[in-house]
Amino acid sequence: MTKCEVVIVGAGPAGIACGYVLAEAGVDVIILERGQYPGAKNMFGGIFFADQMNKLIPEFYTEAPVERFVAKKHYALLINDSEVSLNIDSEEHKKPPYNHSYIVRRSVFDKWFAEKAKAQGATIICGTAVTDFVWRDRRIIGVTADTADDDDNVLLADVVVCAEGANSMLSEKAGLRNRLSMRARCISVKEVIELGKDVIDERFGLTAREGAAYEYFADATPGMLGDGFIYTNMETLSVGVGVVISELYGRRNPPSPNQLLDRFKNHPCIRPLVKGGKTLEYSAHMIPMDGFRNLPRFYTDGLMLVGDAAGFVNNSICHEGVNMAMASGIMAAETILANRQERRYDARALRQYEHRLKNSFVLQNMKNSRDFIDILRTHKELLNNYPHLVQDVITSYFKVSDVPKSTVKRDISRMLRSRVSVVKAARTVMALMRGGI
């Protein structure tokens, strides 16, 4: 049986970051990845929030395959056939390090990052799916790959780091999380649409390597807890929608995620942005929505969970995933390094990992937005009524007519009074401030 010091399952941002730090310190580390290459199976929106990356590999963006940096952000409420939006266009974000926000394609980016870890001395084995853990005396001592019945497919290690992402099959097997609830996962579908750089620059008002991130709420996924997005790659757009899986059930004729995407693409405010493009890729992926209160246990004897496997995604307005994935991977590595001399990786020794998480933005941000999803779930008006109301208020106010503005204002306040309870709205806002955003 083959043996090494640390086995990492999964070569996404969490696993690679962990492997990078360990290899840099001279640890004998092997990363196992089921895709044919790192990134082959990975997709996200996406903005690579990269302040962790910039710490690990300073000015990584000068050599990494980055499509564009995020120069413009656009937050929009989609309502029926219109949108109300907020644009953020800041000169500050157009200068290095670009607010640590880079649009990347994971299929090439993860590959690049993996090469960097290899250069540090990490071994990365692709085309290998880990199927289970190897246990001895209720302690994890390794993993089995592909077929378990043969010693040649067993890899033993002092400690295992599980960076398997949102599927969580292994974390369940380790007994660290319960069976996935459909409330705790969002399903996202995305198309990569080719338009060419010139068309994209013109439609989104960009030049050179400037990019735009458009986030859509409310009727992006009508009546459902979800959102839509458009991100500009260099020559293509990433266009997608995500919806909490449980929202699709318990309905008569639930729409399929791709129907939702089609509807989104055909919204009158979206269509002009994507029209004439050729769809090159179609993909789907899950996003953890465990939320702070339902996070799994992060470690057990011989094992730590990092990244999406541990549920570290900030589900509030800025859905930060990769940054937390990398940070948790790095903290797991640091925990291993701190215990390396004694070679003790039992649960007591690994408790240090949780301390590190608690003292970092990872768990603090998770805690900060602990109620976000619940608030949306229990205050459906946030996604349904309020956006429509905002829309009605704004369109009435700006309507050009001979009705005096004083009358318009009176009508608006009547409309507001009839459609919202001020007390309730205030409570919702308070709740959001406290534990939502």
Binding site: M1, L32, G127, L155
Partner: protein, 261 residues
């Protein structure tokens, strides 16, 4: 048993198409794979090793990216991978290739058996195996479909010809080329994948193997491609009509006419 398996990286024939103007293969954007026959050669080498002990080396001549093919050999269970790569090797025909491989085998030194795939699917000549045996001064058996017996001195191999199977006694050291059907190639195991990732493929130049420059690459290749044509497939289809009985009778008489039956 020390076994050297010769492997070649070829364009994935499932993806290749022919340029209608120049009649050459369009290789751009086509993935490279291990020559399918060589996969059987590697597998047979591994099985012999597992049964009789020893080591398996994989050997290839090709551009630097052919390292991937040798890695594949390592991930299946070979101990050592050697790539012969040198600008001077470019443009080699089968004569220059077998000369080059022979020089490398001699550098490796001791071996009991060399195994090649029957032929490479991008050239289909089936020259290199037998020619290599000649250059090494060892006997060979081509198109082997089964190995019956192996001793220190000889092996009994079954080869397949167009209309027969032959059992041949081959004294060792020797060389065989293998056909599809000799075995079912395995999938790489985790242990060997790790080994492959951690084993450096050795790269040898013309100088390293002490090759005579006039015998390698284009210079050492008397073969000249005079013309290339793409085979045209003429299908003279004919539909038979009428009741089934008549159709069958008709078909039989047509087949007799053409002396198929």
């Amino acid at each position: 048993m020390n076994i050297i398996v010769c492997v070649k990286q070829v364009p994935d024939i499932l993806e290749v198409s022919v340029d209608k103007e120049t009649n050459t293969l369009i290789r751009e954007g086509v993935d490279s794979v291990i020559n399918p026959f060589d996969l059987y050669a590697v597998e047979e080498g591994l099985r012999l090793k597992e049964q009789y002990g020893g080591q398996v080396y994989v050997l290839s001549m090709g551009p630097p990216q052919a390292i991937a093919t040798l890695r594949q050999g390592l991930s299946l269970g070979a101990e050592r991978g050697i790539l012969l790569s040198d600008i001077g090797f470019a443009g080699a025909d089968t004569l220059a290739t077998s000369y080059t491989l022979a020089k490398a085998v001699k550098k490796i030194g001791h071996f009991d058996l060399v195994i090649c795939g029957r032929q490479a699917v991008d050239g289909d000549t089936a020259h290199v195996g037998p020619s290599l045996a000649e250059k090494l001064g060892v006997p060979h058996v081509s198109c082997v479909i089964k190995i019956h017996e192996v001793t220190e001195e000889y092996m009994i191999a079954e080869r397949i010809t167009e209309d027969a199977k032959e059992k041949v006694k081959l004294s060792l050291p020797g060389l065989i080329t293998v056909c599809k059907g000799i075995n079912e190639p395995r999938f790489p195991s985790l242990k060997w994948k790790i080994n492959a990732a951690r084993t450096r493929v050795e790269v040898w130049s013309a100088h390293d193997i002490g090759a005579d420059e006039s015998k390698i690459g284009l210079k050492g290749s008397p073969t000249r491609v005079v013309k290339m044509t793409t085979p045209q497939h003429h299908r003279a289809g004919q539909m038979l009509e009428g009741p089934v009985g008549e159709q069958v009778a008709d078909l039989v008489s047509k087949l007799r006419e053409r002396q198929v039956l």
